[in-house]
Amino acid sequence: MRNQFENRHPLTQFVYFMMVFGISVFVMHPVITGTAFVSAVILGVVIDRKRFLKMLFCLYIPAVIIGIMINPLFSHEGITILWYFPDGNPLTLESIIYGIMSGIMIGSIFALFFSFNKIMTSDRIMYLTGCVFPHISLIIAMALRFIPEFKHHLSEVLNAQKCIGKGVNEKNVFNKVKNACAIAQIMATWAFESSVERSDAMRARGYGLRRRSRYVPFQMTKWDIILMIFMLITGSIVIYSLISGGVYVWYYPYFKINEAGGYAYIVYFLYAAMCMLPVFDILLEEAVWKSLRSKI
């Protein structure tokens, strides 16, 4: 069963992913990036624990470790020298810190992408595309319909041709190419024929009349609006603090971070709240369900 956040309006989900992706890609602040990583892992676990943990240990963590190891090998900037490589290049503390942070950043993007794939199904992406380009969404829908049909017919043709001794797995290269060309031609003719019939069916159902509308199978609730407003406000505050320099970080030539203080804590808290929003959304709904059911 799809959980609460998966059932939210695509626009809400889109705003969430854009905010978190955007901030994670452009900002590599230890606290901000760390928060993004932890919340992405929690979200992944909440959505599909088994598959996410498998991906996490087999793919994401190795990628993070490789990222951490590569940076000090190639980057020798920074003033705190710890050791010298045999070839005379220095190993610096700054490059190690930078490596760790970039590894975590990559890890958080991977982990977030797992949830993105699970939540933003093809029809949701199509809806969002359609908001910007209304005509393209129908074309995509038709293409998604056509491709499996084409594949199916192709396998039918390949089998049929093989059975009359005109397949593509012949030993003679000349015959092989000739047969493959013939099959390509068959498929082109078939595609044309079937599209003629389909266009008839479309016109029979009134395609081409003026003022076409677009059916959206998603409903926006007041909670979608509340969540979106919340994300936009917190996101703006975080972004403002990053741009204005309230929250900053330097890695080179030496590592320097904004001072911990009331302002910074507020920004950290708001960002964490935004990142964890889907997790709260899912868990809260589950808790409500459980308590309601326990009363039956």
């Binding site: 499996p148 089998n159 009359i164 069916a201 009134g206 009349l209």
Partner: protein, 548 residues
Amino acid sequence: MEIFTIKNLTFKYPQSKNYALDNISITVNKGEFLLLCGKSGCGKTTLIRQMKAVLAPAGEKSGEIYYKGKPLCDVPERIAAQEIGYVMQNPDRQIVTDKVWHELAFGLENLGYKNSAIRIRAAEMASYFGIQNWFHKDVKELSGGQKQILNLASVMAMQPGVIILDEPTSQLCNIAAQEFLALLKRLNDELGITVIIIEHRLENVFAMCDRAAVMDKGKIISIGSPQQTIHNIKDDDFFDAMPVPVKICASLGAPEYNVPVNVNEGRCFLEKYLKGKALPNADDTYYKEFGGDNIIEASDVWFRYDKNGEDVLKGLNLSVKKGKLTCVLGGNGTGKTTMLYTLCGLYKPYRGKITVKGRNIKKWGSGLYGKVIGVLPQDPTALFRRDNVYEDISECAAGAENADKKIEEISRFLDITDILDEHPYDLSGGEQQRCALAKVLLTEPEILILDEPTKGFDGFHKRKLAEIFKTLLDIGITVLMVSHDIEFCAEYADICALCFDGGITVSGNVKEFFSGNSFYTTSANRMAREYFPYAVTAEEVKELCITT
């Protein structure tokens, strides 16, 4: 009130000598269930396409068509799109989008309906047609029958007053076809939707229609109630396409205008007819065991498409006798086609053994295709490579001695000499099938394997196909076919087998096979099984009734 009034409609396709429609006048009343039938190529489709202006073919036209009293050409396109629904033959090619819900909404989107209105309509349609369980599915996951129901539902979502259907069940198996027709009848009964339908298989639809129109060569030769139709075409050769109970009872002298049209009525009639007569003893001369060699043998064959997928064939055992016509029956999705392709070596079973002419199929290699096995796929267009029939079929004879002579012989035998210059895609379904068959036969196989060869055929073409089979069997060619056409198999097969759940459940001599089943059998057998358990075709029942 009249929905359609057609007056003296005449139509000719460009570059054609004959009139496709010849002075047709017909009225269709509101709430009527009108059946349109006739031989292939008699102009049925041309006629109903005229009623849907956007689909009307181009050509020379005279006469008038009125829709609700207004000339059809003056009806605004928006009204026509909404009020006149049209469902075509091929379930796959009418579906526009990839999701079931989107398909239901498509027509209403075109009309510019608001989101909330579409939501209500889609929900309503899904509930009425029993779609709610697959509402969110991808279209590609649906079966053929479900696809056609979806097509009907997405047309009905626009709330038309009249719905026109062009052979909607010809691509479906019997059970799916019955389900579809029952839905249609319900729409007609409960909502008063006017239905105009073309059908080849009259078995079910003939009994449910209000009026039937029979066409021949662009003319309407009879129109009236089913009983009236039976009376009118009694001497026409189209009478052969009538449902089996009608054929049997009419020849046994059923009262005029009161001929039984379904199995139940037929049974009552036979009961009266045979009352007091001495029934022959159960005749076992029908029962004969076929000797002879097994040309294909499969033992304990298991097959699945994916490593982690489900088994499609589960311990299949089958032997195909040399020089006999073996039919494998079974519903959709029982693994018939998979079985066929496994038997001819296209799919490799992961367990079990298949031998062809006593030799393991794995050892045959590509030498198997052509000289030994010829396969005719379900969709004959998968075979055509060139843009004219002659070039296309001669490709398969290339390199052989006196190729020209062989091509000529085969084309005469399959009756395709007149269409050798045409493009394969311009031919009708039956003609395409025959050209594809010509191609396969030119490779001179010893075993001919066919997948649903009678799909979309009318009675005349079925008989033609049966004649072809007979000639092939006489010269020692083995024929194996899978089909869900029970009537065809009962009439012409030597051996029948039932495919179920990935294996062969029963197999045996055709009489034995059908008399042993009580549901999955021909309508003639269902009608007369109490009296003549071994009679499976209409002819046999007729003969037995007359001789007792």
